[in-house]
C-alpha cells in the first residue's frame, strides 16, 4: 500500500475515534462523577455537596479530598426503608410488566410473522409508528381515557358494567396499562425478527414426521424464538425499572418507583449525594441485565465476533 493510502488510513482511524472520545467525555466521565458525588455529603452551598476537589492542590489535595469522602448516603439508603421499598416496587412492576408484555406481544409478533410476505413490511411500520409519536403524548392519551370522568368510565357506565365511576388513575393498574402500551413495540419487534428469520422447512419436517402443530410450536418455534424473547424482555425490563414519567403521571402516591424517588431527592430535596447514591445502586442492580443485553446486541450486530 502506498504511503498516501497509509496516511489516509491513519486519518480515517482518527476520525472514527471521534465518537469514542465523545462517549468517554459525555457518557463514561459523568458516571465517575456520579460515583464521586454519591460519596460526598450534602451541603448548603452551590453546588450543594462537599468536599470539592481542586486540581490545583495536587496530590496533598487529593489525599485530603479522599479522607472527606463518606458512605453516609449509602448508609441512609440501607437504613431508611423508603428506599428499599422503592427498589422492590420498581423490580416488581418491571418484572410483572415484562411478563405481561411477553404474553400480549408474542401472539402479535407470531401473527405478523405468519402473515403473507407482502403484508409484513406495512405491519412492521404499523407497529413502529406509535413508537415514533411522543412517549409523553401516549401517556397523556391514557389520562384522557382513565380519569374519573374519562372515556372508560363513561363507556362502562353506559354498558351498566359499573354503577359508580372507578378510580383507574393513581393505581398500579394504570401504571401497568401505561407501561404495556408504551413498551409493546420493543417486545414485538425482536420476537418478530427472530420468528421471521426461522427456517420454515423445520416445521414442514416436523409435520412430515407426524408432529401435531401445537407440539411443533412448542418444540421448534418457541425455542428458536427465545433469543428474540430475551432481547425484547431486556429491552423492556431494564428501562422500566428506572421509569419516571409513567408512574409519575398514572401512578398513585403511596409507594414511589425508584426513578421517582431519585427525581424527588434531586429536584425537591436538593440532596444530590443521595440522588447519586440511588443512581449508583440502581446501575449496580441493573448491571447484570445490561451486560447480558450488550452481549446479545453485539452478537446480533457483529455476527458473533
Amino acid at each position: 500500500m502506498s504511503t498516501q493510502a497509509n496516511a489516509q488510513n491513519a486519518s480515517m482511524r482518527f476520525v472514527m475515534l471521534l465518537p469514542y472520545l465523545w462517549l468517554v467525555i459525555f457518557f463514561l466521565v459523568p458516571f465517575v462523577i456520579v460515583l464521586k458525588i454519591s460519596l460526598s455529603q450534602t451541603a448548603l452551598a452551590q453546588p450543594p455537596y462537599l468536599p470539592l476537589f481542586d486540581i490545583a492542590t495536587g496530590w496533598a489535595g487529593l489525599v485530603e479530598f479522599a479522607k472527606q469522602l463518606s458512605a453516609d448516603s449509602f448508609r441512609l439508603l440501607s437504613s431508611d426503608s423508603i428506599y428499599l421499598l422503592s427498589y422492590l416496587k420498581s423490580l416488581q412492576i418491571a418484572a410483572v410488566s415484562t411478563i405481561l408484555l411477553f404474553i400480549i406481544g408474542y401472539p402479535i409478533a407470531y401473527g405478523m410473522a405468519r402473515a403473507p410476505r407482502a403484508w409484513q413490511p406495512p405491519l412492521v411500520i404499523a407497529v413502529v409508528l406509535p413508537f415514533w409519536t411522543s412517549f409523553l403524548i401516549r401517556i397523556y392519551a391514557w389520562i384522557n381515557i382513565l380519569q374519573r370522568d374519562g372515556l372508560l368510565n363513561d363507556v362502562l357506565a353506559r354498558l351498566h358494567v359499573v354503577d359508580a365511576p372507578v378510580a383507574w388513575l393513581s393505581s398500579d393498574r394504570a401504571i401497568f396499562i401505561g407501561i404495556v402500551y408504551s413498551y409493546l413495540p420493543f417486545m414485538i419487534l425482536p420476537i418478530y425478527a427472530a420468528l421471521e428469520k426461522m427456517d420454515e422447512t423445520l416445521l414442514e419436517a416436523a409435520a412430515d414426521l407426524g408432529c401435531p402443530r401445537w407440539k411443533a410450536f412448542w418444540l421448534v418455534t418457541l425455542p428458536l424464538s427465545l433469543p428474540g424473547v430475551a432481547a425484547g424482555a431486556l429491552l423492556c425490563f431494564i428501562p422500566i425499572v428506572g421509569e419516571f414519567v409513567i408512574p409519575d403521571l398514572l401512578g398513585g402516591s403511596e409507594t414511589m418507583m425508584i426513578g421517582q424517588t431519585l427525581w424527588t431527592e434531586f429536584f425537591s430535596n436538593r440532596d444530590w449525594p443521595v440522588a447519586s447514591a440511588i443512581a449508583v445502586t440502581l446501575l449496580g442492580l441493573l448491571l447484570v441485565p445490561i451486560l447480558f443485553f450488550e452481549r446479545l446486541q453485539q452478537r446480533s450486530l457483529e455476527g458473533g465476533r
Binding site: 493510502a5 405468519r114 411500520i125 407497529v127 412517549f135 402500551y181 413495540p185 429491552l235 443512581a279 450486530l301
Partner: protein, 271 residues
C-alpha cells in the same frame, strides 16, 4: 416462517394494532371537540388550535424543541455513523469492548441515570445550563440509536463493492465517501429521523440538563399535564402526531428509493 395464517393470528394482530392506535385516535378526535369536557361531545371545532396560536409559551417551547432536535440529530447522525463504521470495519482495536459497550448502553440505561450524570458533569465543568447542554445530552442519548440502525445496514451489505473499488486503486477515504456512504444513506436518513423524534420526545434528560430560558416542548407539556387534561394540549399533541406521521411516510419513501437504487448498484456490480 410458514405462512399459514390462522384466525388466531389474525385476531391477535388486529387486537394488537387496535390497542396501539385507539388511545392516539381518541386523543386526535377530542382535540377537535368543542366542549372542554372529555365525556361530552360538543361538536367539531378548531377552537383549541386557534387558542394555541396565541399561547406564546407553547410556541416558544416548540421552536426550542425543533432547534434542539435538528442540531442534536445532526451531530448524533455524524457520530453514530462513524461509531457504526468503526465497529464493523476496524476489526479488533484496543478498547473495542469498552467502545461497543458505551455505544449500545444508552439504549437501555434508565433516563434518570443518564440525565443526572450529565447534569453533574456540566456542574463539575462549571458550564451554564441551557440550550446547548440539552443539545449535547440529546446527542449522547440518540447517537446509539443511529449506531444500531447504520450498523445493521453495514453488516448486511455486500463488501465486494468496497473491495473491488480498493483493488482498482481507489483510496480508502474515497471508497468510503463514494461507495460505503452512498450504500448506507437510507439507514443514515432513518437514523437522523429517529434521533430527531427521540429528541423532540425526551422529557427526563431535558429536565435535568435544561437551564433558564430553555424550556422544551415536553417540559412545557409535562407541567401542563400534571395539572390535568386540557383541550389545548390535545391540539398540540395532534399537531406533533401529524408531524411525525408525515415524516415517517417521507422516510419510508426515501428508504424505498434507496433500496431500489442499491439493488440497481448491486446488479451493475454483477454484470
Amino acid at each position: 416462517m410458514r405462512r399459514g395464517t390462522s384466525s388466531f393470528n389474525v385476531i391477535s394482530v388486529v387486537l394488537g394494532l387496535a390497542f396501539l392506535y385507539l388511545p392516539i385516535t381518541i386523543l386526535v378526535i377530542y382535540s377537535f371537540n368543542a366542549s372542554r369536557l372529555v365525556t361530552i361531545w360538543g361538536g367539531w371545532s378548531v377552537e383549541w388550535y386557534r387558542e394555541l396560536l396565541h399561547d406564546d409559551a407553547i410556541l416558544q417551547a416548540a421552536w426550542i424543541s425543533l432547534r434542539v432536535g435538528a442540531l442534536s440529530a445532526s451531530a448524533a447522525t455524524v457520530l453514530g455513523t462513524l461509531a457504526a463504521v468503526a465497529l464493523t470495519r476496524m476489526g479488533r482495536f484496543r478498547g473495542r469492548l469498552l467502545f461497543s459497550g458505551m455505544a449500545y448502553a444508552p439504549l437501555v440505561i434508565p433516563e434518570v441515570i443518564t440525565g443526572l450524570s450529565l447534569l453533574l458533569l456540566f456542574v463539575a465543568l462549571g458550564v451554564d445550563r441551557g440550550f446547548w447542554t440539552i443539545v449535547i445530552a440529546h446527542t449522547t442519548l440518540t447517537m446509539c440509536f443511529v449506531t444500531v440502525i447504520v450498523q445493521s445496514r453495514l453488516v448486511n451489505f455486500d463488501r465486494g463493492l468496497e473491495e473491488a473499488a480498493m483493488d482498482l486503486g481507489c483510496p480508502p477515504v474515497k471508497t468510503f465517501l463514494t461507495i460505503t456512504l452512498r450504500l448506507i444513506a437510507p439507514a443514515i436518513a432513518a437514523g437522523w429521523m429517529l434521533a430527531f423524534s427521540l429528541s423532540l420526545d425526551d422529557l427526563v434528560i431535558a429536565s435535568f440538563t435544561t437551564g433558564p430560558g430553555a424550556t422544551t416542548l415536553p417540559i412545557r407539556i409535562y407541567s401542563e399535564v400534571r395539572l390535568g387534561v386540557k383541550p389545548e394540549i390535545n391540539a398540540v399533541c395532534t399537531i406533533m402526531i401529524a408531524f411525525v406521521a408525515v415524516a415517517t411516510v417521507a422516510a419510508s419513501l426515501i428508504a424505498k428509493s434507496g433500496s431500489a437504487r442499491r439493488q440497481r448498484a448491486a446488479l451493475g456490480a454483477q454484470v
